[in-house]
Symmetry: C2
Subunit: 192 residues, 2 copies
DNA sequence: CCTGGCCTAGATAGATCAATCTAGAGAGAA
DNA sequence: TTCTCTCTAGATTGATCTATCTAGGCCAGG
């Protein structure tokens, strides 16, 4: 049983890594299995639905993990405004450290499937919605008016996702730096 | 000659449409040629480098076209702040009208190729840089301090790209609406 | 000991992919 | 007309993709 779950988890981990870097269509099942040291049989045993089922589970799993990671940054210190700025800076540092590979784990896939694979599109929508409601609650807990909180959460997460696009394409953290500063300003203004 | 250029342009137009909706890896050459009513021979006559050369030219072409489209919105009226808000609203309307298919023409491809295809990554980086410098100049021309202009341009474009991700995944213009309002506020504040 | 369920293992099939190749249509110049 | 160049046309090739299939290893319960 332990060996079983280890194989399944290894497959999921490798999938998340490759989907993040190359997207869904650009990643072959063979490539995933090779890197995970797993045979074909294991994949179709653990994921009878094939690549799509693997992708759906990877999206939800990686989405939850990333939510935890970001939440950790946003709760790191007592000052939310400083935490927001630090979160953007940390995301930029991760990009530099990973040769601009490790940005948002589901962004590329979300764009790929938005008009081509409805079940997977729903999986990405669920993940995004969970991020939004989490950040909205955090803003409300930090004296942002309820009416303003959700739009502000939308703006912060949009800026982060958009900055990832510019950062990876340009191999620069300029967009992340600019967005971090601007989002900190917006949060500070909304806390009044 | 006229028929020639028509075939080439038809291939480029269809490529832009499909890359935007399905990404690069998710779009087959065959699918492009079928929809463009063109045979294999024509593709490899006009683009000897194959799919990669077609993609590079599509990225630059679609990027330039989209820059013109957005610039048109940002110059539509006398008030830049109002124009920014209107540009986000217009982008949302386009998404609704096209069943959330027509967002940024190169965003999906940019994420796909960022760590997998260096020539294409450079093409996307060039397009983004041209958008940035164009918007920066527009901000400067509207009384935004030179030091603030480029970061602000980064924030605005990042918010737009990020909002596209949320909009397409969630089939909602909520993110675009929130970002439009926030970006208008930021521009107004920077103009002082 | 041995038997049944869970998981690993990889060969194989069948579809689809990008790319090449040969052939011919069409227009303009001599 | 006849030659030539440009572009169209699609069959074909070889690689690669996802998925299935059969077989065997491993471990727990009887």
């Amino acid at each position: 049983m332990s060996a079983v779950n280890k194989t399944k988890e290894r497959i999921l981990d490798v999938s998340a890594e490759l989907f993040r870097q190359q997207g869904l269509a650009g990643t072959g099942v063979k490539q995933i299995l090779n890197r995970a040291n797993a045979p074909f049989g294991s994949l179709y045993h653990h994921f009878p639905g094939g690549k799509d089922e693997l992708a759906a589970e990877t999206i939800r799993r990686a989405g939850a993990q990333y939510a935890e990671l970001v939440a950790g940054k946003l709760l790191a210190g007592p000052d939310l405004v400083a935490n927001v700025r630090a979160a953007f800076r940390s995301a930029g540092q991760t990009l530099v450290d990973t040769d601009y590979a490790d940005a948002c784990p589901i962004e590329t896939v979300a764009l790929e499937v938005a008009n081509t694979n409805e079940p997977l599109r729903l999986a990405t929508a669920e993940v995004f919605e969970s991020w939004l409601s989490g950040l909205t609650a955090l803003l409300v807990a930090n004296d942002v008016a309820k009416k303003k909180a959700r739009p502000l959460a939308h703006v912060i997460l949009s800026a982060l996702e958009g900055a990832f696009v510019f950062a990876r394409a340009s191999r620069s953290t300029e967009a992340l730096d600019a967005c971090g500063a601007a989002m900190a300003t917006l949060v500070a203004a909304a806390k009044s």
